[in-house]
Symmetry: C3
Subunit: 467 residues, 3 copies
């Protein structure tokens, strides 16, 4: 097999080449296509008068910027630090997360722009704060996928994964949101389900039968677990902003935040319960606390803007904490052993299953919607029953929501198989089986204090001398 050749992890040519060429391509494409929208352009003052907008505070920036920054923190610190839990892959966890996201958001602005923000009068994509949020969302799909293959791939492979992932995401999102007219404010389907199955399929394609050669590094140390809790907590705290960031102004943002807040609270309790119940001596497992506590946020993603009701949110969170934690205990080892899917971070438990559940919850909640609960205008606004869809009814909307789940799963698996196949080519500089989960191949590592006898330590050279 191609992949069995001796591995060369030197990315000194390939990584800079990919970064430079793709960044230059971005600049050219941005030059051709991307401009400010009417709320971020200097003509805003004229636009404002023209549209009779009474105050600058009604610029969309003030509705969404706080949520945007919360989402931004989730992408870079949340996902980044969640992936620092491995004892010797913290640099790769947070660093490659940074690289993927920084590239991905640029490509996402273009891809999503062509589908959603193209101004047909001049052929330009007009961007504002909502585009930035959507770009961050799009990146989240790729970061989820990264979780499955954490520690087993090179940065060049991650760039390829991101290029294709963003592209697939934009197409899938367009199909689900615009063609099928499903609603998915928090992305249970378009982000989490897609991202999880995309990553798992890639991981299956890159299956390493001898991965146990790296088992010494496939675990945490005390402080790396504390670092990972930074990621967990930021994801947990800001998830209400994630699910409400692009919902409609007013009650929809307000309600989405409340629902997410409640679902996540319930998830924490059931995660702790199951974690304790299934361990010898009732001890809690940090893997569960770091991951499964977030499942409720994933699972209310679609329905957060609906009238899910506070107790509905609690029920969703309650169930997902249980399912996700049991997933870590039973399903992840099963998938590795029988399905040949190695899932480093357990994204199937955190994003895959909860994402599908979220889609189902969304479908049920949509199908059960009524004018009695939403009000006449509220129903139209919440489900966007306007234009081509002005004759839509809730029960039918439920069916469309369900169709959305299938599209997300299919795109995830299909895309992952293809991209995984590409990533198997022996040109990407991925690590050998015995140097997975190790920063050594791709990072200059500081000499480690602890491993050096006191005297020798004082002769180790200052960091900057090596440059």
């Amino acid at each position: 097999m191609l992949c069995d050749r001796p591995k060369n992890t030197n990315v000194r040519l390939s990584l800079p080449a990919v970064c430079f060429v793709w960044q230059i391509a971005m600049i050219i494409l941005f030059g051709i296509f991307i401009r400010y929208d009417e709320e971020s352009d200097a003509h805003w003052i004229e636009h404002r008068k023209h549209k009779n907008i009474s105050s600058d505070i009604e610029n969309d920036f003030y509705f969404r910027y706080p949520s945007f920054q919360d989402v931004h923190v989730m992408i870079f610190v949340g996902f980044g630090f969640l992936m620092t839990f491995l004892k010797r892959y913290s640099f790769g966890g947070v660093g490659f997360n940074f690289l993927i996201a920084a590239f991905g958001l640029q490509w996402a602005l273009l891809m999503q722009g062509w589908f959603h923000s193209l101004d047909y009068t001049d052929g330009k994509i007009k961007i504002g704060i909502e585009n930035l949020i959507n770009a961050d969302f799009c990146v989240a799909g790729c970061l989820i996928a990264y979780g499955a293959i954490l520690g087993k791939v090179s940065p060049v492979q991650l760039m390829v994964l991101t290029l294709f992932g963003i592209t697939l995401f934009a197409v899938e999102e367009f199909i689900i949101l615009n063609l099928i007219h499903a609603r998915d404010a928090g992305g249970s389907m378009v982000i989490h389900t897609f991202g999880a199955y995309y990553g798992l399929s890639i991981s299956a394609m890159l299956y390493r039968p001898n991965l146990d050669q790296s088992s010494a590094l496939h675990g945490s140390v005390y402080h790396s677990d504390v670092f990972a809790m930074i990621g967990t907590l930021y994801l947990w705290m800001f998830w209400p902003s994630f699910n409400s960031a692009i919902t409609d102004h007013g009650d929809a943002q307000h309600r989405a935040a409340i629902n997410t807040y409640l679902a996540l609270a319930a998830t924490v309790l059931t995660t702790m319960a199951i974690s304790s119940l299934f361990q010898k001596h009732g001890k809690l497992d940090m893997v569960h606390i770091q991951n499964s506590t977030l499942a409720g946020g994933v699972a209310v993603g679609t329905a957060a803007e609906f009238m899910l009701m506070p107790y509905g949110s609690l029920i969703v969170g309650f169930c997902c904490g249980i399912i996700s934690t049991l997933g870590y205990i039973y399903l992840t080892p099963f998938m590795e052993k029988y399905l040949k899917i190695q899932d480093t971070c357990g994204i199937h438990n955190l994003h895959g299953m909860p994402g599908v559940i979220g889609g189902i919850v969304g479908a049920i909640t949509a199908a059960a919607a009524s004018e009695a609960v939403y009000g006449q205008e509220g129903l139209i606004n919440t489900f966007d029953f306007v234009g081509d869809f002005k004759d839509m009814v809730p029960s039918k909307q439920g069916g469309h929501q369900a169709a959305g789940i299938c599209v997300a799963v299919c795109f995830g698996i299909g895309g992952g198989v293809i991209v995984g196949g590409i990533l198997r080519l022996p040109i990407w500089g991925d690590p050998a089986d015995d140097s997975c989960f190790d920063d050594e191949p791709y990072w200059e590592l500081p000499e480690d204090e602890e491993s050096i006898p006191p005297i020798v330590q004082y002769n180790n050279h200052m960091r900057n001398k090596d440059v």
Copy 2:
């Protein structure tokens, strides 16, 4: 004595049972009682037209959501990481903080809802963003109490502490804010004073004469102190949001943020000064920097929304930095030795004394208020001299403020003694004296790199294999 039996820290049945039963109770109670308020309900659009509200931006969500998220960060990352300073109790510090807060906020929504947000027309509690902030506030009281007993209790005990703590809080808050009509925007009295004395009383009830058996773990290591600084800084930075989160729209939020910002700045300087002055060789002590720098935020909690004046805020911060740091140096050892109160985090210095000072500052500032300074309407708005209290005058308000302090102290001590008594029952799975401040009884710990000889290390097993 009951507590002297050999300890069994196995919480495999009790912790899951408590989590499941209480979470299910929450779902049922939420189902019966909790609904969206008019600003988060899909009928908002009709409500908006009915009330002649010109824009969605006037939904309370946009006034308070940024502050809410800052408060949320304080609760989970701020308090959580502040409690990671112990060398081997970082998991318990941040993890149990997470558990307490996730349960507490649900119970707080109910308890506070019954007192403050009950809609008598249909018997439902209507929640919006302000309720979420208040629930976080309520949780803060219990997290403060946790600081006193950090490392000495089981998670089941913490759940019990939280259940009663939230209940007591809601009653005490209702008495202070509604019956006595004291103002306490930042909660110097209702949160900090109550929380501190509640925790200290519990700690006194759970006094461990042989706690020095755990002294080897009762301290920090270099990196755990840096982790704790994350908590300190997030508390410090976002305290202006804490004190302004539920004040009136407009100038009151604005002024509360400014006052808190200034008080905290002054506290940093006097804390550093005292810390250096009282150590041999003038070295700074991380315990003081991590904690006492926050005392100014506690102490302007009540008066932050008043016309305390910028210099007034500096004076409050100045004094509290001194008092709090001296508390760590002299009072904490004194209390342990003579009063039999073991206060792990020194909450008496960070929340107890500054909370009482904050109540006093609030009383004085309120008593000194005048129309000349506040303006006629400003005075009425700031002190809410409407309805039953429309004949109130500042000097009398000062007396009411002072009464509030007493109520907070009494509820804290009284509640703590009762709850502490309950927690002494030998059924809660608390650790033995020689395994306090240790994560080992309640957490699966990763094998530690440093303590393993290099060869053996490579044979230690991968984390996920144990599941």
Copy 3:
């Protein structure tokens, strides 16, 4: 020479004295000068009616508070944790950063207030949220300077550096913004260029020929690098808030955030590319990832509010990632060897060069501005062509921008030489050459788990016993 005497790092008298005296001075000056402005004063309700402001949401607080808090996080966590990368100077990095900032922001409110917010009717400085942001900005200049001398000075020296730094900053800012009428929303010139050259000049004045005696501590360990990434990411994520915090309401804030977001994304890719390309085996260097990825944010500081265009932002970020990383590789060693400037954090690469580039980009963008792109009103608003400057034209504005760069560099170098001279006096308690980059002289350090044999470890004393 004076500085060659044996060093005494005991700051037990000097540090408390400086902290107390200066804090008391602040209280007195605040008492005399500082009051609330009309948006944070209790008279706001009357002001609002008088000015016909329709809603409390138009209080400046709601336009700027989220950005303010992001900037606040950058100052305390961003700069603070970025400076924790040294293996044994994390306390000093984050702790002294805290001290400088807490003092500096008070002094900045006064200094900037006298220049910009003095109400001539009553001789008072009226402060609101914008003043707090500007105070944080002012502090940033001093924190940048601290980066050059990190680990080589005493806290007392840092207080002196801050006192003079803030003073110089306020004068320089007044000249650049008000007299020269340059625009500099994100402070490429007034903050970054000034701060960098101020710090480098001080470092040159404090040159230590025998600094290699501390070389064993002049480097990172694995976890200190991860801590530093917290700082990096918070600076990176919130830089859009930094550059948009004080721009005009509406499109200017919106556009500044977009431009900064894009510039930073491009910088990440070119930083990674250069870092990999110039290391043996193509490995990435954490020093570059931690620092150079931020250069794009510095370099769009001035032009972020202009119509730089999305592709323009990408180009700026693209170039600065390259220049900054090459600076770390070639320029920093060169400056140390030939110019006798020891730059611990490489601030010349992160703030100096990108700051100057940012000034130049601003000058070019301003000079190229036209009514076609900005609209008539947009041009006037963006460049503030009103009052004395109502006859200004873009080409001339470009010249004024360029003049601003020169003023910033001159103030930085001139001020740094003078202050550096003062800091050479042998009275400040700075560390000897062989105890630089070490927390030991100024901090009580916990005994270190790793360096203690297991048995002895259990006898080490509990932390609080030493008080």
